[in-house]
């Protein structure tokens, strides 16, 4: 079974702190994604990566950066956390789209609260 793990289930940080959210997948997937999920707004794509060291902005990249140094690991960084970044953060992975398979596999989520 595909396994996508996230470093924390719950996280509480203070405004202005630098926050790292880590995601690891064990299926040798080329693509990895970071979403945030908010009530009434659904899932919104923050960043995605289709290869090591490659990244592309999603719909809401402002205030975030990402790092992918190894194929299995994709990190989301909040450079200076703000209260409006309080949310559920979901990581996902999938095979390369060249394979014409498009299913994404999700981690359990990290509920981040910024106070």
């Amino acid at each position: 079974d595909v396994k996508v793990t996230q470093s924390s289930r719950y996280l509480v940080k203070r405004t202005g702190e630098k926050v790292f959210l880590e995601c690891v997948q064990d299926m040798d997937h080329e693509n990895m994604f970071w979403y945030r999920q908010d009530p009434g707004l659904g899932l919104r794509l923050i960043y995605f990566s289709y290869d090591v060291k490659m990244k592309e902005k999603g719909d809401i990249p402002e205030g975030y950066s990402v790092s992918r140094e190894k194929k299995e690991r994709f990190s989301l960084i909040l450079e200076s956390a703000s209260t409006n970044q309080t949310s559920m953060y979901l990581c996902a992975s999938s095979f390369s789209w060249d394979r014409r398979t498009y299913e994404q596999y999700f981690g359990p989520g990290t509920r981040l609260t910024v106070t």
């Binding site: 996508v4 693509n31 009434g40 707004l41 659904g42 899932l43 794509l45 995605f48 289709y50 999603g58 719909d59 559920m88 979901l90 996902a92 999938s94 789209w97 060249d98 498009y102 299913e103 994404q104 596999y105 999700f106 981690g107 359990p108 989520g109 509920r111």
Partner: protein, 113 residues
């Protein structure tokens, strides 16, 4: 940007009844997928239907796709309390060569025992 819109937003049924959720989208798609999310957890992929398919089955799930109306429906037959969850449709478009998913807002299903 949100493409899919699910209807209804919330659905409450008794165990054993069927549950139907609908999804509408705006642009041409390569495929449409349905995901389930249990409360406070990640999403789980349920089923994928390609744009050249009209119906697909998987266990108690039946998905239909009408590309002329830009809509899809998910039917869960003989529902169980364990089916209580939020259900999301997600579309993959034809733009570029990416398979980015665009999610709808979801339907919250409650199955009462």
């Amino acid at each position: 940007s949100q493409q899919g819109e699910e209807d209804p937003q919330a659905l409450s049924i008794q165990e054993g009844e069927n549950a139907t959720m609908n999804c509408s989208y705006k642009t041409s798609i390569n495929n449409l997928q349905w995901y389930r999310q249990n409360s406070g957890r990640g999403l789980v992929h349920l089923i994928l239907i390609r744009s050249n398919e009209r119906e697909k089955h998987s266990g108690r799930l039946r998905v239909t796709l009408d590309t002329s109306k830009k809509s899809s429906s998910l039917l869960i037959t003989a529902s169980r309390a364990a089916d209580t969850a939020s259900y999301f449709c997600a579309t993959v478009g034809f733009s570029g060569n990416t398979g980015k998913l665009i999610f709808g807002q979801g339907t919250t299903l409650q199955v009462k025992p």
